[in-house]
Point group: C2
Chain length 195, copies 2
């Protein structure tokens, strides 16, 4: 049900077409929640049927049309209910740790490469999220800008603070992964040196 709430979250900022949402999922929000268009369009249709959003056909060019969705009162209610409900946790399913636990079966080179790839991946994510925080802080983020229209200084600060804090959480997690993988390299070095 998180996809549905990710979509509602976006539509609380402004009305959007499925394509707009898809584009946002590829860039900004996509760094927290990703979804392909083949999942977005059908879900939007279902949400309209459930009365959470309302779609209106608007012209596009001479002959073309597109459908722009707006969140309804029921949609806002549903989104609020999700945020106020206690969180649910998935069972643990961690492919990286699963592999790490059995590295005695891998070659020393592959083990080291594994940790180096882990560091590279999370370093790249840290940069993405730091960029994201920058656009949130200086309000150059268009979705946020739209969201803050007509809001008081205090409200704007509050809204921005939660978003920045969420991305800081992503960064903290990634940095922990990097530190762990660096220790992993040392461990491989120590255990496999004598081989």
């Amino acid at each position: 049900m998180s996809l549905r709430n990710a979509l509602l979250a976006m539509l609380t900022s402004q009305p959007m077409t499925g394509y707009d949402v898809y584009k946002n999922f590829q860039t900004s929000v996509g760094y927290v929640w990703h979804a392909p268009d083949s999942q977005i369009y059908p879900e939007l249709r279902r949400m309209e049927q459930d009365g959470l959003i309302r779609g209106e056909t608007v012209p596009w060019g001479k002959r073309g049309t597109k459908k722009r969705y707006s969140i309804t009162e029921a949609g806002v209610e549903s989104f609020r209910a999700w945020l106020n409900a206690p969180p649910e946790y998935q069972r643990e399913r961690d492919p990286v740790r699963l592999r790490a636990a059995y590295l005695e079966w891998a070659s020393p080179t592959a083990s080291a490469d594994f940790f180096r790839a882990h560091i590279a991946y999370h370093s790249a994510r840290v940069e993405d999220w730091e960029d994201m925080i920058r656009t949130l802080r200086d309000h150059s983020n268009p979705t946020l800008a739209k969201r803050l229209e007509g809001k008081s200084e205090e409200e704007a600060e509050r809204i921005t603070a939660y978003k920045v804090f969420a991305y800081e959480g992503m960064i903290a997690r990634a940095q922990t992964e990097i530190e762990w993988a660096e220790k992993g390299l040392e461990l491989v070095e120590r255990l496999e040196r004598r081989g």
Copy 2:
């Protein structure tokens, strides 16, 4: 494909029935990779068809039978290939961070409860994993004990070290989550006090 490799990982220790695997997935290995029996039994059948494991029907009581699976050479090969291949990363999909980013829509009480639940959940996981590390270190873990049979002191140390290191990674991640959620409580306190 990680389920398949989690199953292979278990069967590198000793031959097991589907039920044995299921039990282990609920306790030891389940703290890294969880799977329900409705997923385990069919996957084992598919793996047998693919020649990765071999099943033999063994008697159980007077009339009953059960099927015990052993890993084959091809299975070991496939497991090794997985461990030596570069890791693949899923797209980001983080329901906790998604919620955190939109806490301006939640009530202050619900926001604080959300972070407290996050702390409680991860604290419980830390205890589970610390227990797990204890049973690995003192070799009271039966699956590990079986795995270390006939191994040299050095080999045993090496095998154990990777498993401990994997769980240390889980703990590090959980502790980062706890620290983040504690900062979240402070943030809620600061932002919502004046409401």
